[in-house]
């Protein structure tokens, strides 16, 4: 593999890892916010346990979204400086807005939410998780604006060998954005719904003591997946028109063609399954009672994640060899003078570290699911700031 291939592979690995965690973040955030709101309104202890349990899954998952996101952000400057020097005046704007407006607030409010138990008034604490959700969706908007610009560079003109911003609003009405953004957000709901569904099925199958908790959770998971899958599939098909206008050859290659087929197969079958089988079985809690179905629900949990990766492979591989479609090729965007040694070392280090941490994180999510709502660290009592009974012999 040459330098371009390695740099591309590094971006593909970090990007796909990033989205595997981000898609669940986008789906779980509104669910946790709704649970927390119901807790604040009703004071029902069940909702406190649900908020803390699913909130902890959300938060453990969130960690890897940050780690992979950091590498994504800095990778542009490290490996693809040709992109910033050619299109940075346009492409950099949504990225700057994502970091300054969306992620800055998201991270700050998430810290307040995670550590604010027993400390913030309940209404303000709930406001924090809603602000986290809102800013996460704003992040998705700005990132999709940036990505859609690469797919179809609207709102700009070439001057003196580089792109300049002409019409900022056009970035937000880009035909490659308007259906892709709700497609991605709905896919998040679908993934979040399936994780809640699969984890609930596990506890119901094992006949743990948390029957009511997971019967209700299963209902939330399936209903969320129903809404998510319906809109994911709808906004997926809606993209064929605009895509064939701007990138007519998008699906002709082997990889995008296969990935598209895989995504549509999963999307269509599973969406029908959720709509015509799982959702009707919520009546009289048949789904929660029919234990023989639960292993199948657990096995289905990864499917929206597989489909999501197939979707990104279609979108990103399908526009090769262009980084900025029709304007800047991937090879021309590579940082000049990047040596094989440097890119090999950085690929091994970033893919190795992020891959390892991703596996650890998934193991921790599974562990948290298996331990159930009885042992949740999120929202556990604070510790006195005074020295503990066995003080450190330090200072």
């Amino acid at each position: 593999m040459d330098v371009v291939d390695l740099a591309r592979l590094q971006f593909a690995v970090t990007g796909n890892l990033h989205f595997l965690f981000v898609v669940l973040t986008l789906g779980l955030a509104p669910l946790v916010a709704i649970m927390h709101t119901r807790l604040a309104i009703s004071g029902n202890l069940l909702y406190e346990r649900m908020t803390r349990f699913w909130g902890q899954i959300y938060v453990i998952n969130y960690a890897l979204g940050i780690f992979t996101g950091l590498v994504m952000e800095f990778q542009f400057g490290l490996n693809w400086s040709g992109l910033t020097s050619y299109a940075g005046d346009v492409f950099g704007t949504p990225l700057a807005l994502e970091t300054l407006l969306a992620f800055f607030l998201e991270s700050t409010f998430l810290g307040l939410w995670i550590f604010g138990w027993h400390r913030l008034p309940r209404g303000l604490h709930v406001a924090c998780i809603w602000l986290v959700t809102l800013t996460a969706y704003a992040s998705a908007l700005f990132i999709m604006v940036a990505n859609s610009f690469l797919q179809n560079p609207v709102g700009s003109a070439e001057e003196g060998g580089r792109l300049v911003l002409r019409d900022f609003g056009a970035l937000f009405t880009n035909p490659t954005l308007v259906f892709a953004l709700p497609h991605v957000l709905s896919a998040g709901l679908w993934a979040g719904g399936f994780v809640v569904m699969g984890a609930s099925a596990y506890h119901l199958y094992r006949r743990t003591a948390e029957r009511e908790f997971f019967t209700r959770s299963l209902r939330i998971g399936v209903l969320t997946a129903f809404i998510g899958s319906l809109f994911t599939v709808g906004f997926g098909y809606a993209q064929f028109g605009p895509v064939s206008d701007v990138q007519p050859d998008k699906f002709h290659g082997a990889v995008p063609g296969l990935a598209l087929g895989l995504m549509i197969t999963i999307g269509q079958f599973v969406q029908f399954g959720v709509m015509f089988v799982l959702a009707p079985l919520l009546i009289r809690d048949l789904l929660a009672r029919w234990r023989w179905l639960h292993p199948l629900l657990m096995l289905m949990t990864p499917l929206p994640f597989v489909a999501a990766i197939a979707g990104w492979l279609t979108r990103e591989v399908g526009r090769q060899p262009w980084l900025v479609y029709g304007k800047l090729s991937v090879a021309d965007a590579l940082t000049p003078g990047l040596t094989p040694a440097a890119i090999t070392a950085s690929f091994a280090a970033f893919a190795g570290v992020l891959g390892l941490l991703a596996v650890v994180d998934w193991a921790l999510i599974i562990r948290a699911v298996r331990r159930g709502p009885g042992e949740v660290a999120l929202g556990a009592p604070d510790h006195s700031a005074d020295h503990s009974p066995a003080p450190a012999h330090s200072f």
Binding site: L78, A342, A349, R367, A380, H383, F395
Partner: protein, 245 residues
């Protein structure tokens, strides 16, 4: 407009070191100030609620570099390729230590991730010291020479002191004056470096159209950005220590 975005960049960079500096310093000192697991829990509990609000200053800084100074972003980051990679990896390792250390039982699990917090923090401090030294010298071809290393060690010592004054203020009721002093000291090297690069940055800013769009979008949200940060400090400066990290 260039001046405004240059000032934004400078404030974010100085703020990153003044704020995240004490998290990094405390991480470096974790095995020194926290000889027992309980003592380390206490130190991590002191900084935990601030970390997410502090580290995001650097993410915002990178965004401003990308949006307002795109012509500099590529050359600076790729010019310091190995150093930037080390800083990034160290940052990830430090964060993983914080997020994971309490997620499973067992003394060895906790010790492993406490080690990650310490090693990652040390890597961040050394790496940043070398980066600032390299930028001050105009991006030399081999930034990891004795001078670069000396810059790394000097920043490590500075941030360790800052971390210590934070721990004394949060945990032992020390006055805020010395924390303010160490925060200013931690921000000073970065402030000097960015002041030295002012001419270059102002000359290489994005065109006015881009900067104006960024300004129009960001300015209405500045009260929220500031308010959220103030809220964190008002909420977590006193009282019991959260136990999630």
């Amino acid at each position: 407009m260039e001046i405004v975005w240059f000032a934004t960049f400078a404030v974010l960079l100085a703020g990153y070191f003044a704020l995240e500096g004490f998290d990094i310093g405390l991480g470096v000192l974790l095995p020194v100030l926290g000889r027992s697991p309980a003592a380390r829990d206490r130190l991590v509990g002191a900084m935990a609620p601030f970390v997410l609000a502090n580290e995001v200053w650097l993410i915002a800084l990178a965004g401003v570099l990308f949006g307002a100074f795109p012509a500099l972003e590529g050359p600076v980051l790729s010019g310091l390729y190995p150093l930037v990679s080390v800083v990034l990896l160290a940052w990830i390792v430090r964060d993983a230590g914080l997020w994971f250390r309490r997620r499973a039982g067992g003394a060895r699990w906790r010790l492993l991730w406490d080690g990650a917090v310490c090693a990652g923090s040390a890597g961040l401090a050394l790496g940043w010291g070398a980066v600032l030294t390299a930028v001050a010298r105009g991006l030399p071809a081999s930034p990891l020479d004795p001078l670069g290393l000396a810059g790394g060690v000097a920043l490590l010592a500075l941030l360790a002191w800052h971390g210590r004054t934070f721990a004394a203020w949060r945990l032992d009721g020390a006055r805020g004056g010395s924390l303010l002093l160490s925060a200013c000291a931690a921000a000073l090297p970065a402030a000097l470096v960015v002041a030295g690069a002012a001419g270059r940055m102002l000359g290489d800013a994005a065109p006015d159209q881009t900067l104006t769009v960024l300004g129009v979008m960001v300015v209405p949200f500045v009260p929220f950005l500031v308010g959220a940060q103030v809220w964190v400090w008002r909420t977590f400066s006193k009282g019991a220590l959260p136990t999630f990290f």
